[in-house]
């Protein structure tokens, strides 16, 4: 087999700066930045604003590096899926080797810089996150088990824990609960997406739960994880993260999320096909707001606390 037959991509244009930036998955990075920022500010130890900004930057860069490594390894399936076809490698802007080199370089760089800016507990957690996302999720679980989303979700759940560690130098119940919140949120979020973007994952032969265990089972899984998520979200309200604002936010959002999951559970495929998965799409959109508002409430509580206006009873 000749080398040219391995890749059907023709590199015609020179990559621009924006193409390299796109390798870092800026949209995912924005979630990393936000949750790490909340973790850092919710910690009981005040950090100099400049140091805090630098820490967030390197946590984001570490997340971006793992994104680049993910794009390197998954280039073959990215070419197949509609959603990922325009990424820099399948689009022919950047070679797989370049993405791999950039990812490795930025991984090392971001871990060392975070260690120097804050401490080596935070740096160690960042290194583990990159390893987990690239090796455990991308290389091992993603193409092997339909539970890929569940275990892989851990990688996306680490940033608030890293932010917390950057401030305190350790791990605590609060940081573990912030981790658990994202960890439990990831499966219902992605499985809802898989319900209405099914062809993409089928074509790429990624073993999504919808394909391996069927769509009925996926609906059940969404509901179970949503119940577990609600328990964890409420539990966080009874730690130093919580307060009146958080509790009210969590109650409203979790009731809405549970109703959404219940409706998904009680639908059949004909209903969904008929309205083009309106309920599933709505649930997916709600899941985005769910995470953003929970972490927003934690941030608000931390801010109120700093000004001596903590709302906890």
């Amino acid at each position: 087999m000749s080398d040219s037959s391995l890749h059907n991509t023709v590199y015609t244009d020179d990559a621009q700066f924006g193409d390299y930036f796109a390798l870092l998955k800026p949209r995912v990075m924005s979630l990393v930045v936000f949750t790490a920022f909340v973790g850092l500010l919710a910690a009981p130890v005040a950090v100099h604003p400049f140091v805090a900004a630098v820490c967030i930057l390197f946590i984001a860069l570490g997340g971006g590096a793992s994104g680049a490594l993910n794009m390197w390894y998954d280039a073959d399936i990215d070419r197949i899926m509609k959603r990922t076809r325009k990424r820099p490698i399948p689009a022919g802007k950047i070679t797989e080797g370049e993405a791999k080199s950039l990812g490795i370089a930025l991984s090392g760089f971001s871990v060392i810089m975070l260690g120097l800016a804050s401490n080596f507990v935070a740096a160690g957690l960042l290194a583990f996150t990159i390893f987990f996302y690239v090796v455990i999720y991308t290389m091992w679980l993603k193409r092997w088990t339909p539970q890929n989303i569940v275990i892989g979700g851990a990688a996306g759940a680490f940033p608030p824990m890293i932010g917390w560690a950057a401030a305190t130098g350790g791990v605590s119940v609060e940081s573990v609960l912030m981790f658990a919140l994202i960890f439990m949120w990831t499966p219902p979020h992605f499985w809802a997406l898989a319900l209405f973007m099914r062809n993409d994952y089928d074509d790429a032969k990624v073993p999504m739960l919808t394909v391996t265990h069927g769509r009925r089972s996926t609906r059940k899984h969404i509901f179970v994880y949503t119940v577990l998520l609600a328990v964890l979200a409420m539990a966080a309200g009874f730690t130093s993260l919580g307060g009146l604002v958080y509790i009210v936010t969590a109650v409203v959002l979790n009731v809405m999320f549970l109703i959404g999951a219940w409706r998904i559970l009680n639908r059949n495929e004909d209903d969904s096909e008929q309205d083009n998965f309106a309920v599933e799409r709505k649930f997916f959109r709600l899941s985005l707001a769910y995470l953003f508002l929970h972490f927003g409430a934690i941030l608000l509580e931390a801010g109120l606390d700093r000004f001596g206006m903590g709302t906890w009873l």
């Binding site: 020179d14 990559a15 621009q16 700066f17 924006g18 390299y20 930036f21 100099h48 400049f50 140091v51 630098v54 930057l57 120097l116 800016a117």
Partner: protein, 55 residues
């Protein structure tokens, strides 16, 4: 003898945005390390450090 400057190669035009972006990133990195050093050394109290105060 008249100086004979070579016209800008087409490659430089094509890679302008990439080179400019990388240049800016490097400048930002230098500023960031400088700022971090100031904060770490002075413990956030720049004026005090200039005045020779110690912790």
């Amino acid at each position: 003898m008249a100086m004979n400057f070579r016209p800008e190669h087409e490659l430089h035009k094509r890679r302008f945005s990439r080179n400019m972006g990388l240049g800016l990133v490097l400048v930002c990195f230098v500023c960031l390390v400088f700022g971090l050093t100031i904060v770490k050394v002075t413990n956030g109290n720049v004026a005090g450090a200039i005045a020779g105060q110690t912790e």
